[in-house]
Structures are given as structure tokens and as C-alpha cells.
Amino acid sequence: MNLSLNEWEALAKKALRGAGLPWGIAEVAAKLSRTAVVKDHKIVEDLADWVALCDIQSMSGPKAVFQDTIRPAKTAKFLCPILTGIAIWDAEYSSSDLHGLNFENLVFPRLLGMFIDNIVSQPLAQNRSEFVGCTFDQDAHAQGNNVTVYLMPEKTCHAPRDLASRLDLTPDLHQLFASYALRTYAPATEASRLLGAGAGLTDNE
């Protein structure tokens, strides 16, 4: 399915909310994902895996920011890349703050990269489609890993390529995101249809 980026953002926002994120965080992550998904389609796959993981694993945002190592809250097994990404973005980290920063038991680091991309405004690293301007020393996924951010030296960067303005989503992935988005919709009832809506039922005049 070929989606406009607006469609993708709307779908992602609702799916992230459906997976349990607060609205304000789902909204920011979905907006940031607009450009991330056309740079790197693996972001879409990681987001799909992440929403599915939300139902079965304990994840949290960081216990604290402004630390050399960012750790999950005590109650959680894994560090959520989106809550963590928002936290370091909100903490207004500089590029030098980020370089060498460690994350403990982080899942899906590419998703953290969406936020780092917006902190580090460097062009795309050659042969590194994962993130703009940074890479990690581990490609942790659902199992979680300790990872460290390495900013790419400027000399290895080159000008950004022209980015597509659409997103091709497989039917399976679309269905997965739609199933989480569905959690944000109230079931249709006759009372809701009659009382809650914004137009008359018969407009044949």
C-alpha cells in the first residue's frame, strides 16, 4: 500500500498510542518517523516489532537523564527506545553529550536513532542507512543490548540523497499497525451513532 506521509503519521500516532504510549509521546514519535521511514524502511519494521513487543515485555523510559549510562526504571526489563529517545531529545543533549553515551538493555536502537537524527543534524553517513550521522556498536533488537552511540566523523558524511515522499507498506505491516490503531477507536454503538456525532441522520432536504 502506497501511503502519503500524512497517512503514515496518522497511522503511526494511533498505533503507538494503541501500544500504550501517552498521546503526547505518540504524536512526537509519529511526526519524527515521517522522514525516518523514507530514509530507512527498517524503521517501519522495527516499529512494527516494537508495538508487538509492548504487549508481552516490560519496557520503560529511562530512570534518569543527564547520566553517562541511561538505564531503564527498576520495574522494567528493557529500555524503551521511544520513551528514551523523547527523554534525551527533551533533555536538549548536544552532539558532544551524545557521543559515547551508553544505553543499558535497549531494544530496537534504530528507533532511538530517529530522535538522535533530530539532535545531530549531520548528513547521511555513507553506507550507513540506519541513522543520519550516528551508529551504534550493537544492533540490539527485541532481546535488548547495551549499546553506545558513536557519531560519524564529518569527513565520512556526504550530502543527503533525495528522499522519497511516499511510503510503501506491505499489507501485513499495514494490518499490524491498523490493529493497534483500532485500540484507540470506540466500538460503534447505535447510541453513539445517534448522540455523539456531528450531523443529522437524514439530510434529504
Binding site: S4, L5, N6, P22, K31, G61, D90, A186, G198, G200
Partner: protein, 564 residues
């Protein structure tokens, strides 16, 4: 020196958001020079756009396709219109409808037959179909059955339709949704936002509706011709010009204003800046006063012809109509000594909000040279989220909460009447709805459209947090408050971005939000059908494309008294 000797920009005093952004006032806004329909028509005329109808294949049942092309200096756009034979029982303005009298898309360029074939397989199904990045909008319209049949019958009988009936209804078809900005596969706004013709907000949608009006006029004539075997009367151009395109707007527009705070700020700020610029003209010229008197007279006649069946709107109209003679008398009394700032101060003390906001719109009219450049400030181009100022202290954030949201902190949020409603989206065609929190099982699905309550809740947790800590640390502990924190910081720099009223109160009127947005579109004669949906008319009295170069493309919204 500027010809009107306005105060320098830094000295302009804008009306405070605490005054302007109250729901009752937003629900009293009127169209103005900065309304999107008027912005579009001024541009089309200034740039001498040309129009053609390369295709119009409609059969005797009113079924077929029409293509209308608008050619600008650099690009062409085509309305591809599909006309359908809709059974009466399927005619509904609700989002949940699945068939319409006519369906449309605005095509980026001139469509080939292959494009039209593809669109014919999708556009008639609206949300159930798919369009592509070569399409800019998707819309549909239903007939006003009474007026449609009357006009077809009259023309087929070789006579003109009843003018009073035309005036009473105002449109032959009403749109029930006009989707743009990437919806259902259409091109994203950012892909076209750099084109000058789409720099102002909602220009794609306004162009689509403008061309739709012409299609509807042509369609009704075609139906009459078929009925009369080609012997029908031609619809009188003066009558045709009175016809607009109706619009039935429900709850979907209300969340838009809350979900797009930067856009709301830019719209209102442009209008308030325009007002401040005009009020700073200390000695209006005789020419400016003359233009004002002219539009006042014409607009007053239009207001007096405004009809509604809704008790709340009837009550508002009674107040507005009672205020009109007072304003007219004041203007006569002041004669050539009229001063805009004095007029507005007098109005604030003497007439209701509806009349006050009407005057705000009217005093802008003589000053296109002061006002129209503000059009360029009304859009939001950046699709990226605005970073939070996370290093701001909790103490400072609390200060902004206390100064910007005092209205929300003063409310008892445990009181049923203050949180009686909840906004949600139904899984039934994703229709936005407003429910009763304590009577329906909807709270789990609530949309974040209650900024006042959200900020009040955040304030409670802020009060317990270390004041010297930073906002980023606060949000690590309370990520659920991020939306509220972002809104508070946003309001601090964009004061018109927030509605300063409770949007989930038992007595909240969603139509106030609808009117605010529709006034920026350029709508007049709002006709609420309940507290949550409203009918309006667009482009009444506007010149048709073929008349754009010879007629007034700006003040058409104030018809001469014979055409109200």
C-alpha cells in the same frame, strides 16, 4: 513613510489572547480579507488564471464525468467531477455515508483518459477508494433536493427559478467533506506548499470548491436540458451568481483547531495584527471611510437576510440585528470624523460580540495594502515537531502554567459539569464524536482534546516536584504530561494557539469552534443544525471563472443589496 502612517510594528498592540480566544468570541468570528476563499480569488484574478471545461459527459440520468481545468502562470489543476444517480434514502451528510450525488478530486495537472479511468474506480467510493500523489484533494457533495428539483423543473419549463427560494437555500449542492493534505493517498501538503498558489492555508480545498460550484451550475442546466429535450431556459447569470456551494460541517473540524495549535495561532495572529495595523491609522482618509461605509451597508443587508432554524443561532441573530442600527447610527453621527479605534472601543462597550467581530472584519476592508501581506504568515510549513525547552526549570514551567492557564486552574475538575464530555473517534468510518463521559463507555478511548484539564493535572504534579529540577527530568517521571508541557511552552510564544475555555464542559458548544474555522474559510450565514454541526454556504455571489477578470474578485462577499 507608509501612506496610512501606521505605528511601527513593535508598537502595535494586539488584543490579548485572553479576550480573543474565548469560545463565545471565536463563535462570533466573521469572514475577512484574510479568509481563504477571498485570498484565492484575488490571486486567480491578479495572475489572470484561465479556465476551461475539456470534458462534460453527463447522461439524462445525471450520471457521468466532467473535467474543469484552471491554468495558472506555471501550472494547471483540474477538478475531475463524477456525477451519480443517488437514491434518496442514501443521501446523508454524515461521515458514515457511503454514496453521494457527486464526487470530486483536484488533479495536479491535466488528466489523461487513463487517469480518469483510474479515478473513476476510486473517487466515487471516497474513503473506501485510493487516490495518489497526483491528486490534491478528495471531496463529495449532495444535492439540496428541494432546490435542485425546483431549478430543474423551472428551467425545463422555460422559466427562471424562484429567486426567494434561491436566496433562502443558497446552494444546489453542499459538500460534506473536502479532504486534502495527503488523506486517502493524496499528495502531502509539504510536496506542494512551496508553490505560491498554495502558500496560504487551504488553497487546494478552496480551489476545488470554487470549480465544484461551476460544475454544479453546469450540471443543473444539463439536467434541465435533458428534461426539456434541449429547450430549457438558460439559468439567469445573476441568479446563478447568487448560488454558492453549501457545506455541512460536523465535529471533525473542532478537534482540528486543538490539534493544530501553531496553525490556529497563525490565523488569529494574522487577523489581530491586521486589526492592530488598521487601528493605528489615526486619521482615516475619506476614501477609506467611503469604502468602509459601502461594505458596512452591503454587509448589513446580507446579515439581515441571514436565516437559521436553530434556537441558539436565532437568539444570536436577534442580538446582532438589534445592534446593527446602533452601529449604523454611530457611523452616520461620526461622518467624516470616523476613527477606527474609537469605533471599536465604542462597540466593545455598546454592542454584542457578534457585532464587535463583524466590525473587526469590516475595518480591514479599506486597507488591502496594510493587511493582505499577512497572508504569507498564516501557514505552518514545518512538519517536524517543535522541540521542548527541556532545560527550563519546573519553577518556570509552573509560572507559565499559572499565567497562561489561570482559567483552567480555577475550575473544579472533579465537578461533573466541568468534565461531562469526552471526545473520541468511533471505529465506524473513524467518525469524530463527542460523548457523555458519565453515561457512555467512552473514556478509555478519549482523544487528547482537553488541554485545560491536562494542564491542570500537570500543575498538580509540578507542585510536588523539585522546583529547581528541569522539565526534562520532570517528564522522565511523568511522560503522560509531555503534551501539556509542550502546549504550555507553545502558548508562551504563540498566545493564540490555545482556546481559553474548557473543551469538555457540559455546556461547551462545538459549533463555536466550527464557526471560528469556517470564518477563516470565508463562510457567511452560519446555520447550526444542533450544537455540533452547522451548514454554511461558500462562494455565494462570487464571480464564476469566466467572469473573474471583469468582475470584483474581492468584495463580492458583500453583495449589492439586490443580491442578498
Amino acid at each position: 513613510m507608509h501612506p496610512h502612517q501606521i505605528a511601527s510594528a513593535e508598537n502595535l498592540k494586539l488584543r490579548p489572547a485572553e479576550t480573543v480566544m474565548r469560545l463565545s468570541r471565536m463563535g462570533s468570528f466573521h469572514q475577512s480579507r484574510l479568509s481563504f476563499m477571498r485570498i484565492l480569488l484575488r490571486r486567480l484574478k491578479d495572475e489572470a488564471w484561465t479556465f476551461s471545461r475539456p470534458r462534460f459527459d453527463i447522461d439524462e440520468n445525471g450520471v457521468g464525468v466532467g473535467v474543469y481545468t484552471a491554468q495558472g502562470p506555471d501550472r494547471a489543476y483540474s477538478l475531475v467531477a463524477f456525477a451519480h444517480d443517488l437514491p434518496a434514502e442514501k443521501r446523508s451528510d454524515r461521515v458514515i455515508a457511503d454514496a453521494w450525488d457527486a464526487t470530486f478530486t483536484l488533479f495536479d495537472g491535466i488528466p489523461t483518459q487513463a487517469d480518469i479511468d483510474r479515478l473513476a474506480q476510486n473517487v466515487p467510493y471516497q474513503e473506501a477508494g485510493r487516490i495518489s500523489e497526483t491528486e490534491l484533494s478528495l471531496s463529495r457533495a449532495n444535492r439540496s433536493v428541494r432546490l435542485w428539483e425546483h431549478v430543474v423543473e423551472a428551467l425545463a419549463a422555460n422559466r427562471q427559478p424562484d429567486v426567494q427560494m434561491i436566496e433562502r437555500v443558497g446552494y444546489l449542492m453542499r459538500t460534506t467533506a473536502v479532504y486534502g493534505s495527503g488523506k486517502f493517498g493524496a499528495a502531502d501538503r509539504e510536496s506542494i506548499a512551496m508553490r505560491p498558489e498554495f502558500a496560504a492555508p487551504f488553497q487546494v480545498e478552496m480551489l476545488s470548491v470554487y470549480l465544484t460550484r461551476t460544475f454544479v451550475r453546469d450540471l443543473v442546466q444539463q439536467m434541465a436540458d435533458h428534461k426539456a429535450g434541449g429547450q430549457a431556459a438558460r439559468l439567469d447569470p445573476e441568479i446563478a451568481q447568487q448560488l454558492g456551494i453549501g457545506n455541512s460541517t460536523g465535529l471533525g473540524m473542532a478537534p482540528f483547531l486543538i490539534n493544530h495549535p501553531d496553525l490556529l495561532n497563525n490565523w488569529v495572529k494574522a487577523r489581530e495584527t491586521a486589526l492592530a495595523r488598521v487601528l493605528s491609522v489615526s486619521a482615516p482618509s475619506q476614501e477609506a471611510i467611503s469604502v468602509f461605509r459601502d461594505v458596512l451597508r452591503r454587509s448589513a443587508a446580507s446579515l439581515r437576510a441571514w436565516r437559521s432554524v436553530h434556537p441558539m443561532q436565532i437568539e444570536k441573530l436577534d442580538v446582532l440585528w438589534a445592534d446593527l442600527p446602533k452601529i449604523e447610527a454611530y457611523v452616520v453621527e461620526k461622518g467624516d470624523d470616523l476613527v477606527w479605534s474609537d469605533l471599536l472601543i465604542w462597540a466593545e462597550a455598546t454592542v454584542g460580540q457578534d457585532a464587535q467581530e463583524w466590525l473587526v472584519s469590516l475595518v480591514l476592508e479599506p486597507y488591502g495594502d496594510l493587511v493582505d501581506d499577512l497572508v504569507t504568515t498564516m501557514s505552518v510549513q514545518n512538519t517536524s515537531p517543535t522541540p521542548l525547552k527541556g532545560r527550563m526549570s519546573v519553577q518556570d514551567l509552573s509560572y507559565h502554567v499559572n499565567t497562561q492557564y489561570a482559567w483552567a486552574l480555577d475550575l473544579d475538575w472533579k465537578a461533573t459539569e466541568n468534565c461531562a464530555r469526552a471526545w473520541y473517534v468511533s471505529e465506524e468510518k473513524l467518525e469524530p464524536r463527542l460523548g457523555e463521559r458519565f453515561e457512555e463507555p467512552i473514556e478509555a478511548y478519549e482523544q487528547p482534546l482537553d488541554p485545560g484539564r491536562a494542564v491542570a493535572r500537570m500543575a498538580q504534579d509540578l507542585a510536588e516536584f523539585e522546583p529547581s529540577a528541569c522539565v526534562a527530568e520532570f517528564l522522565v517521571k511523568y511522560p503522560e504530561h509531555r503534551l501539556a508541557a509542550a502546549r504550555v511552552q507553545g502558548v508562551n510564544t504563540a498566545p493564540y494557539s490555545e482556546i481559553r475555555d474548557n473543551t469538555i464542559a457540559a455546556k461547551m458548544m462545538p459549533i463555536d469552534m466550527l464557526r471560528c474555522k469556517l470564518s477563516f474559510f470565508g463562510a457567511i450565514h452560519f446555520d447550526p443544525r444542533s450544537d455540533r454541526w452547522v451548514r454554511i454556504c461558500m462562494y455565494n455571489n462570487a464571480p464564476y471563472p469566466e467572469d473573474l477578470q471583469t468582475q470584483d474578485a474581492d468584495l463580492w462577499v458583500y453583495p449589492q443589496e439586490t443580491h442578498v
